[in-house]
């Protein structure tokens, strides 16, 4: 279960960052930012060897007391960074690898969307129609609406009294993939 997933562009600015909102999000943003140095180090270290042999999955970038940070770089220098809870010892390396592969597949699907301009943030601008993320968050609106993608809104509540958050819906498939990674191991 990831607590934070980030997609960083080649020029090292974030294309997409999402973390479970129970924590201070700024902390995760900072962790991702510092991990970029480690990523660069790993890429350049391997660059001295044959470039062909460089694997996309970088492995554990660095551990902190509460979290572990994993990295993955595509051949177009787009980086994926995943922060997982250290207490979750059940997560094995090959599971993380498969999560990254799924993330990479979702990312390429986003790129193939003709309405997406490469280099844009993977989100629509705020103010557009929203759907509700199915995980509990800090205090948000308690009215229970969830939209089917693009369609009319209908009233759904997964559990009574559960507050919801709002997320923009442009890259729905990508968002859904990330949501599923935060809820369970893929």
């Amino acid at each position: 279960m990831a607590v934070c997933i980030a997609v960083i562009a080649k020029e090292n600015y974030p294309l997409y960052i999402r973390s479970t909102p129970t924590e201070n999000e700024l902390k995760f943003h900072y962790m991702v930012h510092t991990s970029l140095d480690v990523v660069d180090e790993k890429i350049s270290a391997m660059g001295k060897a044959l470039v062909d042999q460089r694997e996309l999955y970088l492995g554990l970038l660095y551990p902190t007391e509460d979290y572990k940070v994993y990295g993955y770089v595509t051949n177009s220098k787009v980086k994926f960074v995943m922060v997982v809870d250290s207490s979750n010892t059940a997560l094995r390396d090959n599971e993380i690898r498969s999560m990254f592969r799924k993330l990479h597949n979702s990312y390429t699907d986003v790129m193939c969307n003709p309405f997406y301009n490469p280099g844009d943030r993977i989100q629509s601008s705020p103010g557009g129609p929203y759907f509700l993320c199915p995980y509990p968050v800090q205090v948000g609106p308690t009215s229970c609406v969830r939209s089917s993608p693009g369609g009319p809104y209908s009233c759904v509540r997964s559990s009574p009294g559960e507050p919801y958050s709002l997320c923009p819906i442009q890259s729905r498939a990508f968002d859904n993939m990330v949501t599923s990674m935060m809820i369970q191991v893929c």
Binding site: H104, N105, T108, D109, V110, C112, N113, P114, F115, S124, G128, P129, S148, P149, G150, G151, Q170, S171, R172, A173
Partner: protein
């Protein structure tokens, strides 16, 4: 998409006419991406969605009037006796040949002059998500134009429009086809 090429419908030269096998082995993703680039360019050129829809229809019409010749040459189907046969040929032969999908035909009107083509998956819209500022864009409107143009060249005036679209949140894509009249005069169909 990362992994394999898929869905290239490799039909050989069954008629023995020396035609190249169709489609020439290319990835359906290239086709989808090309169509996507076309639609986004049109959106940039024309400010509003209605104009883009009309342009797609026009382009589809021009494709259709030419595609019908290719279709008739490759598929060797005979003359259809009624609209139902036409519907069958469109769904089972034409769509299969050019897009690799077989839509189902439903919702015949009582008079037998309207039917619906239900497309479970539409290869044109793989990976596409409509942004909010293009909510009235009919992304696959080219298909309606193609159907209209092709049928006009075989002396049938029809109307084709989308009534359901997976891009707008519906479960399936549905094209409603309506027979208007048989075209009696033999003047070539003019382009708009």
């Amino acid at each position: 998409m990362l992994v394999t090429l898929e869905r290239g419908c490799h039909q050989g030269d069954e008629l023995g006419l020396g035609l190249p096998s169709f489609p020439i082995d290319w990835s359906s993703e290239l086709f989808t991406l090309t169509y996507g680039a076309l639609v986004t360019q049109l959106c940039k050129d024309y400010e509003n969605d209605e104009d883009v829809n009309k342009q797609l229809d026009k382009m589809g019409f021009n494709i259709g009037v030419r595609l019908i010749e290719d279709f008739l040459a490759r598929s060797n189907v005979g003359r259809c006796h009624d609209f139902r046969e036409t519907a069958d040929v469109i769904a089972k032969v034409a769509f299969k040949m050019y897009l690799g999908i077989t839509p189902s035909i439903t919702n015949w009107s009582p008079a037998g002059d309207e039917f619906s083509l239900i497309l479970e998956n539409n290869p044109l819209v793989d990976f596409v998500e409509l942004p909010d500022n293009h909510s009235s864009l009919i992304y696959s409107n080219l298909l309606c134009g193609v159907l209209r143009g092709a049928l006009e060249m075989v002396q049938m005036a029809v109307e084709a429009k989308f009534v359901q679209d997976t891009l707008k949140g519906d479960g399936v894509t549905e094209i409603r086809m309506r027979f208007i009249r048989r075209i009696e005069d033999n003047l070539p169909a003019g382009e708009e």
